[in-house]
């Protein structure tokens, strides 16, 4: 087991390395660098000014040197100003004016050029905000979808099953940007019960009034999928011999479902729920943009549209970590929950 985890962690580090290299390559393409230079200099800067800005801030160094600097394997060089004195690269990030190793390996995620703060100061609060959103989404989504799945799978082919199945298919067919619009129309515009924007949640704290719509919008898309998986797993369990034995023993249907079927039926949905996290990441981007909530998704969009190199790399590192870590957790948890599966 330990060897398995160690191997998976090793693979994870390798994946992160490759992915950040790809991201680094894409954002270091000439047009993207120009976009960054334009956003950092005056709007009417000439081609020479842009070039000199890129040159001065070290964006013209060799690709691998810059990647090494970001990683922390190569020393980050300070800028040399007109008088030949060494000055920090970005004033607003408090970088030292001497050449140092300060990259991801040293725990320094670099400097966000868009928000003008160190990446860590922007990224981690944003992750916290998204964590709150994710928490409430999970709290709503998981019980509802498990309940729907179990009710539908209890008696396969019954009318309850048909109705709930079509209902869950309908929710998987409703992406966030569709359900968000529909909910905003119904609850914010027509009924006026809820706030169509979660912007106030960042400043004044979350409340039922401003946070229900984003949570609902994200939960709806996931509910159908988890419910379908739970249903399939429940249907399979209900055909097993031990269920028939329990019924023939004279136990009531309710007891059989709760005591015998439920535990075995919940193994498969556990994996599905864990694998939902990467999928929720995309949802987070849409929902946070739509409801103007300043979390991870919002940060990612801002970083991507301004080609904020260090912030974008930080974002991709975080999301790759989330994806791979939840995969690992789901594999370990699956083996733990189901003793018949043994990790080789």
């Amino acid at each position: 087991m330990l060897g398995f985890i160690a191997r998976r962690l090793g693979l994870m580090v390798l994946t992160m390395f490759c992915l950040t290299l790809v991201v680094f390559f894409l954002i270091s393409l000439e047009p993207n660098l120009k976009k960054l230079a334009i956003s950092q200099t005056e709007t009417r800067a000439t081609q020479e000014q842009l070039d000199s800005w890129l040159q001065r801030n070290g964006y013209r160094q060799n690709f691998f040197v810059r990647y090494g600097q970001w990683l922390g394997l190569v020393k980050k060089q300070p800028n040399i100003d007109a008088t030949g004195k060494a000055v920090p690269r970005f004033q607003f990030c408090d970088e030292p004016a001497v050449a140092t190793y300060s990259g991801v390996l040293q725990g320094d995620f670099g400097c966000s050029t868009k928000f003008r703060v160190p990446v860590a100061n922007k990224l981690f609060p944003a992750l916290g905000a998204t964590g709150i959103l994710m928490f409430w989404v999970m709290v709503t989504m998981v019980p509802i979808s498990l309940l729907i799945g179990i009710l539908a799978g209890m008696r396969e082919g019954s009318r309850t099953d048909r109705t709930l199945s079509v209902l869950s298919i309908a929710t998987t067919a409703t992406p966030e940007y569709v359900s968000g619009v529909i909910f905003a129309v119904i609850f914010a515009s027509w009924l006026g019960w809820l706030n169509g924007s979660a912007a106030s949640a960042t400043m004044q704290g979350i409340s039922f009034y401003n946070f229900t719509l984003p949570v609902l919008t994200m939960a709806i898309y996931g509910i159908g999928y988890i419910a379908r998986m739970t249903r399939a797993s429940m249907v399979e369990v209900m055909t097993q011999q031990y269920i028939r034995t329990a019924r023939l023993k004279g136990l009531s249907f309710g007891t059989v479902v709760v005591k015998h079927a439920l535990r075995n039926a919940l193994i498969a949905p556990f994996t599905v729920i864990m694998l939902q996290f990467p999928w929720l990441l995309t949802g987070v981007v849409i929902v946070e943009t739509m409801f103007r909530y300043q979390g991870f998704g919002y940060t990612l969009v801002e970083a991507a549209s301004n080609n904020d190199i260090d912030l974008l790399l930080g974002c991709s590192l975080v999301s790759v970590f989330v994806v791979l870590f939840t995969q690992l957790l789901s594999d370990i948890g699956y083996a733990y929950l189901n003793p018949r599966i043994r990790v080789q």
Binding site: P175, A184, T282, V323
Partner: protein
Amino acid sequence: MNLEFVGATQIVLGILARFWPVWLSLAIVLGASYFYRKKLGLYGQLFSTGVGIAGLAICFFWLFTAIFASRIATFDPLAQVAVLKNAMPGAIAPETSGGGVYLLGGDNLARDVFSRMVFGSQIVLIIAPAATLFALMVGITLGLPAGYYGGRIDALLSFLANLVLAFPVILLFYLLVTPAIVEMGIPRWMAGVFFLFPIVFFLTLFWTRFKNRPDRIWLYMGLTIVIGGWIYASLVFNADPFRILSLTPNQLNIFAAVVFASSPGVFRIVRGLTMDIKTRDYVAAAQTRGESPWYIMLWEILPNARGPLIVDACLRIGYTTILLGTLGYFGLGLAPESPDWGTAIKDASRLLRSFIHPALPPTIALMSFVLGLNLLADSLREQSMKD
């Protein structure tokens, strides 16, 4: 200037009447299929459940809408009639601009919401199924050897697939679908690689089967090279000698990005299925006969994996539609005035507080199409599990 409106009944009747070519074709196709359902295999079996019929009807509805779009739409999707800016549904266009009714109202730029929704179906129904088809080809061509041979090939290909899957889709699109990337020619390069797969696939398919039948082999291989080459040239280099097929650089970019994002999923499914089917007796029999590995993969394993693959393709078209909508919603790739549903939803959702009507038609259209595909996939799965 006061606008005149037609009543709600007239709007509903007007819309139903505009869709007449769709109703007619639906009646013919569904009627004929229902009549001959016993002879139509898996497709015919779909007619035995309500869910299957509903799914088919919805998918065919949008298919015919896309085909007859120019006949159904009342206005040009880009035409603006200034007085009808944000007009409510049923507004009558003034005589000076040619008359007619904005059946579902006008949007922020005074364009007809109804016509835009109808024309939007064209974009979605061309890109989504085509991209899924290419992703399927790439996934199959790489998944079969990975599952069949195992070992090094499998480890390498699986690592690459996981690499792409670990990328959050939205970040991938933010990096890939930008004008900057188009300038660099990366999409063309990517498309050049991806679009080779179908040609390679069909060449191998025919070669393994007919290599001892010189009368057939040259015909099939020649046809594949001619047709494949023509499609390849027109899609990748936009150099169609007949000027029938063409893709703008932006569309090519979206196309390549969507294929790139969804082929690892197909790869994983094909690989899993291959590993399962590999252990069957008929594969062992073929191996004993001395068939080549690629013959076994393409003519023994692949046909037996078709059930789950068809179901997956259906779901995947739906997922690709959602993905296209996401791209439109973030304003990536497609032209800002493009009538596709995602872009329309984005434009309308900005003004949701004041005007609701431009948002609803594209949302309902997208939802119903994806719902139809999912219902279809569900009943396909149910029918293929029966036997």
